[in-house]
Symmetry: C2
Subunit: 235 residues, 2 copies
């Protein structure tokens, strides 16, 4: 099976959680919106979103044979068993999905730190509100979410136990993103997050992941993505 991933070509964003899973498992895939030519590029992605029937609401989405699957956590729910990135058993998979959905909620809140009013406005046009929202985010939401992820990731070498999974890859991405966007706050927060730090380090040492991170396929964090560094938001 060769997968086709559709996501904005210039950012990691939510697509990165899917890229990491595909890369870590050594799956064959095309990152379609980053390619040139017929049936490729952003135009091809937007065309699929305007199709009749089961068109996705937003990227990322994945074409796997004849099905198109959207919503990041739903894509990972589909890929997990096929890529060997989730334990067997319905209860274990429901738990993995639950953790992933909570990560998705956290990522949405990260986005809203710099866009608390509207995605359609520039950051500069909602900077005052961003400063206010981010203060609460760092003081209340980061300890809540990361503290919970730390707490439920105990008991094994990896987040779900003895075997690595897509949840570990997503935790890696969250830690990396937070370090990029809020380096000062995250340094303080990480003192209480030894398991997340250890999982982040183990993921970075996962050979397929290390190769991916060193490749041009890994887009750098930047000022257009979800995790953004605005020094005034990270005092």
């Amino acid at each position: 099976m060769r997968y086709a991933l559709y996501y904005w070509p210039q950012i990691q964003g939510r697509g990165e959680f899917v890229r990491l899973a595909l890369e870590a498992a050594g799956a064959a895939y095309d990152d379609v919106a980053r390619m040139q030519g017929r049936g490729r590029g952003v135009a091809a992605m937007l065309a699929l979103m305007k199709a009749q029937g089961h068109a996705p609401f937003a990227p990322p989405f994945l074409r796997a044979g004849r099905v198109v699957i959207a919503q990041t956590a739903n894509i990972l729910l589909h890929l997990g068993p096929r890529l060997g990135l989730v334990p067997a058993g319905e209860a274990a998979r429901a738990w993995a999905h639950q953790v992933q959905l909570t990560i998705a909620d956290f990522v949405a809140e990260v986005h809203d730190t710099h866009h608390p009013i509207a995605s359609s406005l520039y950051y500069e046009d909602q900077r005052a509100e961003a400063l206010r929202r981010t203060r609460h985010f760092l003081a209340e939401r980061v300890p809540n979410y990361l503290g919970w992820l730390e707490r439920v990731s105990g008991g094994g070498r990896w987040a779900l136990g003895a075997r690595r999974s897509y949840v570990d890859l997503s935790l890696f991405q969250v830690v990396e993103g937070m370090r990029y966007a809020f380096p000062r706050s995250m340094r303080r927060a990480e003192r209480r997050l030894p398991r997340l730090r250890a999982i982040r380090d183990r993921v970075a040492d996962w050979p397929e992941v290390a190769a991916y991170l060193a490749s041009p396929r890994r887009i750098a964090f930047n000022a257009m993505g979800i995790f953004r560094r605005y020094p005034e938001l990270d005092p």
Copy 2:
């Protein structure tokens, strides 16, 4: 199987999407935090969230035998096949879940219209930001989300085709909630949403749902829930 639902006792909130599924299917369940006595009430809910192991991050969560499942869409993913509220087949179920996750994203944005800065602050302490965020929400996000839900709900009597599902119940709740919170804006928006209106009406006529809505088990919309009516936000 007798289910145990855990959710805040004074609001519909996210728990309502689960209540509607349990009620529509005639399932046996306890709404634990609304009950009195040992092992019941809000204290019992909070105790489960502090448990070791797979404790949920937030309500709602469902106890089904020995498993505890959190995240609204994940609960419905679990209940759908068991309550006869989703079509058979992996692709159909992944699509139902994708729509439900997009509804969840919309509901989170509804919440943030009145709480754009922090859930920990009163509405009155973020009213200026709420006014600004809601203007964009009504002009941009409502047409995007509800327009998409209208578009993908075509082709059959119900949102997923010929048979009713938990997605129809959630669409009912979204329409009801929007009518409560933004009556003026929703009246205008609904002109372009004939399918959602029709699905809403069919769900209201579903005998088990009608009986539930007329019962004291249905909490009224109020000023503490996700859908709130602040007239200044709905000019």
